[in-house]
C-alpha cells in the first residue's frame, strides 16, 4: 500500500504542476495517443542486505554477522561481482495530455538474467558450512511501467515482478528451504527520450535510470535467507542465536537504453 501511495504521488505531482502552472486544462491536442513497441537493454544491479545479530560475542559468529551487516549478497554471475545485463520487450502507449505533457504507459516482459552464484549449505550434518557454489536463477519478469513528463523528460515508476529459483542441494537444510521465491519491487526513476527520423519513420531512443530506493524484501525472500543463515549459525550449532537474521532488504538499480517505434496513432 505504501508503495502504491508513493507511485500515485510521483505521478500526480507533475500532473498537478502541468495543470496549475500552465493555467489550462489538460486537453486533447492534434494527436491523442500513439502506440508502439520498444526494446530495452538493461544493466541491473540487485542485492540483498541482511541485518544480522550474534549473541556469541568475541567469536567467529560475531565476525560473520559484521560481514553481513556491512555488505549485501549480490545477484552476480561470479565471484568478481560483475553487473547483470538483460533485455526487455514492451508494448508502449503515449497519451498526450497537452501540448507539452505526455503520459507513457508500458507493459513489458524481461527474460531471466544470467544465473547468479549463491550461498549453499554444503554439509549434511549440524556443522554445516557455506559454499559459494550454489546457483540462484532469475525467472522472466513482467514489468509494467508509467512515466509522466514534459519535453521528453519523464519521472515515473516501474513494478518489477521477479521470481527466483533458489540453489538446490543444500544437504540436510534442503527440507526447510523454499525452492522458489518472489521479490517484487517498485522502482522509481527517470526516462529521457528523443524522436529521431529514420527514412521518414519515427524512432524513439530513450534512456532510463531506476531504483527501488532500498525496500524490505518480500516475506518469502526474507524467510529464505533467515533459514539459510540460521542453519549455519542458529540453534543447529552450539546454542541459540549464534547468528540470526532479523531483517532483509532488497536493493535494485537499473540503467536502460531503449529503442522503440510508434505504429498506431489516435
Amino acid at each position: 500500500m505504501n508503495a502504491l501511495l508513493k507511485t500515485c504521488c510521483l505521478l500526480l505531482t507533475p500532473l498537478v504542476f502541468a495543470n496549475v502552472s500552465l493555467g489550462r486544462e489538460i486537453k486533447k491536442v492534434h494527436e491523442f495517443a500513439k502506440f508502439g513497441v520498444e526494446t530495452q537493454v538493461n544493466l541491473s544491479k540487485i542485492s540483498w542486505g541482511l541485518d544480522t545479530v550474534s549473541a556469541d560475542t568475541g567469536s567467529y559468529y560475531e565476525t560473520a554477522a559484521a560481514i553481513l551487516n556491512t555488505s549485501s549478497i549480490a545477484y552476480t554471475s561470479d565471484e568478481n561481482k560483475q553487473p547483470n545485463f538483460g533485455i526487455g520487450l514492451s508494448i508502449i502507449g503515449r497519451l498526450f495530455l497537452s501540448d507539452t505533457y505526455t503520459l507513457i504507459t508500458r507493459f513489458g516482459i524481461e527474460p531471466g538474467l544470467d544465473d547468479s552464484i549463491a550461498l549453499r549449505v554444503t554439509d549434511n550434518n549440524n556443522i554445516g558450512r557455506f559454499g559459494s557454489d550454489g546457483v540462484l536463477k532469475s525467472n522472466y519478469t513482467f514489468a509494467p511501467a508509467a512515466f509522466l513528463g514534459m519535453k521528453g523528460m519523464y519521472l515515473g515508476a516501474m513494478y518489477e515482478a521477479r521470481s527466483y529459483e533458489t540453489p538446490r542441494n543444500h544437504g540436510q537444510a534442503s527440507a526447510n528451504l523454499t525452492e522458489s521465491v518472489k521479490d517484487n519491487h517498485l522502482l522509481y526513476g527517470f526516462r529521457v527520450e528523443r524522436e529521431v527520423l529514420v527514412d521518414n519513420a519515427a524512432v524513439l531512443i530513450g534512456v532510463e535510470g531506476m531504483s527501488n530506493l532500498v525496500a524490505d524484501s518480500s516475506d518469502t525472500m526474507m524467510q529464505y535467507y533467515k533459514d539459510v543463515i540460521n542453519f549455519r549459525g542458529g540453534t543447529a550449532v552450539n546454542g541459540a542465536d549464534e547468528l540470526e537474521v532479523t531483517n532483509v532488504h532488497t536493493k535494485m538499480t537499473k540503467l536502460s537504453v531503449t529503442l522503440g517505434a510508434a505504429f498506431l496513432s489516435l
Partner: protein, 282 residues
C-alpha cells in the same frame, strides 16, 4: 589503459555518428555552472579463496560469504548513499543538434558508511561492524557527446576514503605477527578512482540572457578492478577475517590456513539530477 580505450571508444562512436550526419563545425561555446544530487550505489566485491592445509568449516564459510557479497558504502540502515556536487560546464555545438559537454566538478557524500573494524588482536582476530568509512570530497571531470539533448559520456570519479580507526595496538600486532601472509597494510586513506560510463538527458529553458538546464544522468563503472591502495586494504581485512577466533592457526598459533583475496572489484552506479545554467554564447 583499458579505461582509456573504453573512453575513446565511447567518444569515437558518437563523433563518427555526428560527423556522418553533418559537417562538424565548432560554432558556439557556452559556459555555465551546475549543481548535482546523486544517488550512489557503491560496493566492493572480494574474490576470496582459502589457502593452506586443513581449513576449518568456519574459514570455508567466511570465504563463501565474501564471494557472494559486496561490501556496501551504506550508513547501516541499508539506504543508498546520497551525494551532492557542483561544477563548471562548457557546452559546444559541433553540428546541427550535436553537442559536446565538458564538466569539472567537486562532489561530496552526505554521511559516513559503516565498515568492518579490527576489534581484537593477535592471535584471535575479531571484526565488528562499528567502523566508519568517511568519503572525502572528490574531483570528478566529465565529458559527454550528444544529440538533441541526449548524451553518452563518462565521468572520472576520483574518490578517497578515510578507513575505520582500527585499534592501533591490534593493527601493530597484526602487522608484526607471522599471521600476515601477503604484506598488506591498514592504510588510513585509500583511493579508488573509477571511470563511469553512461548517459545524460537534458532539457533547456530560456530565461532571458541565460538558459536553465535540467538534466538526468545514469552512470556505472560496469564492474572494474579496484585501485591498488583499496585492493591492499581489503586484502588485509580479508586475511584478518580468515584468522578470526583463532581459526586458521595451529596449536602453536602458526598460520595453518587463511583467506586470500584473489581480486577486488569496485561496483559503482550513480543516478543524478542536475540543475544548471548556461550563459551567453562565446
Amino acid at each position: 589503459m583499458t579505461r582509456l580505450l573504453k573512453s575513446c571508444l565511447c567518444f569515437s562512436v558518437s563523433a563518427v555518428f555526428a560527423s556522418g550526419s553533418a559537417n562538424i563545425d565548432f560554432t558556439t561555446f557556452r559556459v555555465g555552472a551546475q549543481a548535482q544530487l546523486h544517488l550512489l550505489d557503491i560496493g566492493w566485491g572480494v574474490n576470496a579463496a582459502v589457502r593452506g592445509s586443513n581449513p576449518s568449516a568456519e574459514v570455508i564459510s567466511l570465504a563463501g560469504l565474501l564471494n557472494v557479497s559486496e561490501g556496501d558504502l551504506t550508513d547501516g540502515s541499508r539506504s543508498f548513499t546520497y551525494g551532492f556536487g557542483a561544477g563548471l560546464t562548457v557546452r559546444a555545438d559541433i553540428a546541427e543538434d550535436f553537442n559536446i559537454l565538458a564538466r569539472i566538478g567537486v562532489e561530496g557524500v552526505v554521511h559516513d558508511a559503516v565498515a568492518l573494524k579490527l576489534s581484537d588482536g593477535t592471535p584471535n582476530k575479531r571484526l565488528s561492524a562499528d567502523g566508519f568509512f568517511s568519503a572525502k570530497s572528490v574531483i570528478s571531470p566529465a565529458g559527454f557527446i550528444g544529440y538533441k539533448g541526449l548524451y553518452l559520456g563518462f565521468v572520472y570519479d576520483m574518490r578517497e576514503y578515510d578507513t575505520p580507526l582500527h585499534n592501533n595496538m591490534h593493527v601493530d600486532a597484526y602487522l608484526n605477527s607471522d599471521d600476515k601472509t601477503s604484506g598488506g597494510a591498514f592504510a588510513k586513506t585509500i583511493k579508488d578512482n573509477q571511470f563511469l560510463f553512461g548517459f545524460r538527458g537534458e532539457t533547456e529553458y530560456d530565461i532571458g540572457g541565460a538558459a536553465l538546464i535540467i538534466g538526468l544522468e545514469g552512470l556505472s563503472n560496469i564492474g572494474s578492478k579496484s585501485d591498488s591502495s583499496t585492493k591492499d586494504y581489503f586484502n588485509s581485512i580479508t586475511e584478518a577475517i580468515g584468522l578470526v577466533d583463532g581459526e586458521g592457526l595451529d596449536a602453536n598459533n602458526n598460520v595453518e590456513s587463511t583467506l586470500v583475496q584473489r581480486a577486488l572489484y569496485s561496483d559503482v552506479t550513480k543516478l543524478s539530477l542536475t540543475l544548471g545554467f548556461l550563459f551567453e554564447d562565446l
